[in-house]
């Protein structure tokens, strides 16, 4: 597995992408994304498809992107894209599994903290086949409820107010943040009822977006 180090454009973020050799010429993929916070650690996202429901083992699968909309008490949506079809057999063998995205802090190649941030029941499979590339897209939904807490966030890179609904995009995700939490960012304090994630590995780097909104 080729390890590719890239420098993020952001002032505090470095990324480390691992790309399967088979598809390295086609698309970058992520099996871990390290967002280096100089003062603390890198941030890593990992995808796991569970196998217990199919009497098999869990498997970590490299992904090229994921996006999610996480809600409190309402269905959370998760979509992950797997480059290539190398894992088709493993996915078929876990057709009743759960899609998990973990977020972890990693430093000196060691996980300081790892926590599941999004979970969804494996519901649909989409197979895309082009002339030179193939992808498998898995999606799922799951409704969870979270205990309300407060969180102070920083690093807002974008703020909007639409019809009184505040949104912030931040560059430093918080591993403990859940929908429904009361967050304080800058001068804003509001209930983060929807947390959206969008991460995509590209040849030129990493597009990432984490948005916290009131609704």
């Amino acid at each position: 597995m080729l390890i590719l180090f890239t420098k993020n454009k952001g002032p505090f973020v470095n990324t480390i992408l691992s790309i399967p050799e088979a598809v390295v010429s086609i698309v970058a993929s992520i099996d871990s994304v390290f967002i280096t916070i100089p003062e603390i650690a890198d941030i890593v996202y990992l995808f796991t498809l569970t196998g217990a429901s199919d009497s098999t083992t869990d498997i970590e699968i490299p992904i090229s992107s994921f996006q999610a909309r996480k809600r409190n008490g309402e269905p959370t949506y998760l979509q992950i894209t797997i480059p290539g079809v190398d894992y088709a057999e493993q996915i078929s063998a876990r057709s009743n599994g759960t899609l998990n995205i973990d977020m972890a802090y990693k430093q000196n190649n060691k996980f300081l903290q790892r926590k599941n941030i999004i979970q969804a029941d494996f519901e649909t499979i989409r197979i895309d086949e082009g002339l030179s590339s193939q992808t498998i897209t898995l999606t799922g939904y799951k409704t969870e409820s979270f205990s309300k807490k407060t969180a102070a966030l920083s690093g807002s890179i974008y703020r909007s107010v639409t019809n009184g609904i505040i949104r912030h995009r931040i560059a430093k995700p918080n591993i403990d943040l859940n929908p429904g939490d009361t967050v304080t960012i800058g001068n804003d304090t509001f209930d983060a009822n929807v947390i959206s994630y969008f991460f995509k590995a590209t040849k030129s780097g990493l597009n990432q977006n984490m948005e916290i909104a009131e609704a």
Binding site: V85, A88, E89, S95, F122, E123, T124, I125, R126, I136
Partner: protein
């Protein structure tokens, strides 16, 4: 709007229903997926390259997941739903109403006159979101708030005021499930038409939560078509018929119903001939009169009973509480006893509640004891036909008269009350208001009447949240009195042979004519006017008391009674032409409630 099926219920308009979804699309999708899986399995059987097989396998899993999702789409949903109007007998498939155009609160279309029966073209059919393609789902959800607001179907509202059959209403705050957008075009509406069963506004009151339909999906054309929940029966319209004449009564307004038209389109004057009426509310057949035939009645002659008041030595007069044929209540003179009897007495009751008949009392002829000064509809005692031992023992000694005993009547038959019949443990004939100086006394009949449970429930237990109509007719009452000398000879005879009145100082016994016991003596044939002077007690009221009530505590008389009497007298005036002096007319009423 959509399609539903009645499961159970109906009381007060509330049902358990299944909301039925369109399953045609679901079945088509299942067929398509199963065909694809079969095709992929065929492909798999001829594919040997591992990676290709893995991909086909994954594709099969993909279709299987889709199949599971499609199979999980419900084909119906069981809910509790109120019919928008007071229809309690719905069955089969019905049209549903969703307010405000998406499944939240579901009502059943107004069922009056069978109008809630499902018609696909009118009521449509629900599609489960999951059975639609994503593009269709997105389009529908994106468009939802727009058409909810600008092409409205139904809303809930509260009636602020009612005037001349039109209502001013305030709409409930209504938002779409999509984005929570306000989808009301205005907060209020004025002069809203009410189209409800066959009585329109009469079923509604200020403060009612109502279901509003927009004609042509036009916000400017609201129309109240029912209640949000707990629909009310019309109940406000009453039809009283008698001898071919009738009138319609608005119970709520305590007046003749307006808007009843003749064939020229003019409002009719009541009482009116039924054949002259072209447009009037439909009334319930189930609330017809207790009687099945209408006829003239001859005077009835119930078994005779006697009442006696007697004076003693001082020759003072004795009060007679019952009028004679001339209406006089003059006291009987000394040494005379009064025989007051009733001839030609007929008593009938009508009592109807919405949708059900409740027979208060029975149709038997009755005698009201002479010594009970109450209205005949309050209670009566049916004394034994032979006689009633009602002798009174009276004692006077040392110049002071005093009562020795009350007399306990032991030979009576049955007491009747408006609540049924009963056998009290005893009836005491009591001497009361005795005046020592005048020697005058009165007699009172005293008994306790205990209602058994069934009688109590029958009368008291059912008059809740309903309209109550009562008409009592007491007809052909004639009271006559004979006077006779209470001679010492006769008294002695009586004393010797009977347990009569005993006056210890003079051993005076007032012996009445023996014929008093056993049969009636009619000395004078009642005149026609006397015998046809029926009396009517009538009430029509809306009982909103939710506790057990005595219906006879309801207001009696007033406008409704006047209307009933006018109707009866008008009929009588017409019928008089066909009656001879031996016949008597008792008005026969048919009572119908909407």
């Amino acid at each position: 709007m959509g399609k539903g099926s009645i499961i159970s219920g109906g009381e007060d308009g509330q049902y358990q229903i299944k909301v039925l979804f369109d399953i045609a699309a679901k079945e088509l999708e299942i067929q398509r997926i199963e065909a694809m899986i079969a095709s992929l399995n065929t492909k798999l059987s001829i594919t040997f390259e591992q990676k290709a097989r893995a991909l086909i396998d994954l594709e099969i899993v993909s279709y299987q997941k889709r199949l599971s999702a499609i199979n999980a789409i419900p084909e119906d949903k069981t809910i509790s739903a109120w019919c928008a109007d007071f229809t309690e007998n719905l069955t089969g498939e019905i049209g549903t109403i969703e307010v405000p155009g998406e499944i939240g609160t579901v009502n059943i279309h107004p069922g009056f006159d069978g109008k809630s029966a499902y018609v696909a073209a009118d009521h449509g059919l629900h599609h489960a979101t999951a059975s639609l393609p994503p593009s269709g789902t997105f389009y529908n959800l994106a468009m939802l708030p727009g058409w909810q607001k600008w092409k409205p179907t139904f809303r809930y509202a509260v009636i602020d005021s009612l005037d001349a059959g039109l209502a001013n209403i305030t709409f409930e705050n209504t938002t779409s499930s999509q984005q929570g957008l306000n989808i009301n075009q205005s907060d209020t509406a004025e002069d809203v038409v009410i189209e409800y069963m066959d009585c329109n506004d009469s079923a509604f009151e200020v403060g009612d939560s109502v279901l509003v339909m927009f004609t042509g999906q036009d916000w400017a054309q609201p129309k109240i078509i029912g209640f949000k929940d707990n629909p009310q029966p019309c109940g406000g319209v009453l039809k009283i018929s008698c001898g071919g004449l009738c009138f319609y009564w608005d119970i709520k307004n305590d007046s003749y119903l307006s808007g009843v038209l003749d064939f020229n389109g003019n409002a009719v004057s009541f009482p009116a001939s039924e054949s002259d009426i072209s447009k009037a509310p439909t009334v319930s057949e189930s609330a017809n009169s207790l009687f099945t035939t209408s006829s003239y009645y001859y005077p009835s002659y119930p078994p005779i009973t006697v009442w006696c008041s007697a004076n003693t030595v001082n020759s003072n007069s004795i009060p007679n509480p019952y009028p004679d044929e001339s209406g006089s209540t003059n006291n009987t003179s000394s040494r005379y006893c009064s025989n007051v009897s009733v001839v030609g007495y007929y008593d009938e009751t009508y009592d109807i509640r919405v949708g059900k008949e409740t027979h208060v009392g029975d149709k038997s002829q009755r005698i009201t004891p002479r010594n009970i000064s109450v209205n005949p509809q309050s209670f009566s005692v049916d004394l034994k036909q032979e006689q009633v031992d009602k002798t009174i023992k009276y004692h006077e000694g040392g110049g002071d008269q005093h009562l020795l005993t009350d007399r306990v009547l032991t030979e009576y038959k049955t007491t009747y009350t408006p609540f049924g019949q009963n056998n009290p443990s005893e009836i005491v004939l009591s001497l009361q208001n005795y005046d020592e100086n005048s020697g005058v006394f009165e007699t009172k009949m005293i008994f306790e009447h205990e209602l058994d449970e069934s009688s109590y429930n029958r009368v008291y237990g059912k008059y809740t949240e309903t309209d109550l109509v009562q008409i009592w007719v007491t007809g052909a009452v004639k009271v006559e009195r004979t006077e006779m000398d209470c001679s010492r000879f006769l008294l002695n005879n009586w004393w010797a042979n009977n347990d009569g009145f005993i006056f210890e100082d003079e051993q005076t016994i007032c012996n009445f004519h023996y014929d008093w016991y056993g049969h009636i003596v009619i000395d004078n044939t009642p005149t026609y006017e006397e015998i046809t002077s029926f009396k009517i007690w009538a009430s029509a009221s809306r009982n909103l008391d939710t506790s057990i009530i005595n219906p006879f505590d309801e207001t009696t008389g007033g406008n409704f009674q006047d209307a009933v009497e006018l109707l009866a007298n008008t009929v009588k005036d017409i019928a008089e032409l066909d009656l001879d002096d031996s016949e008597v007319f008792i008005p026969y009423f048919t009572i119908e409630l909407s």
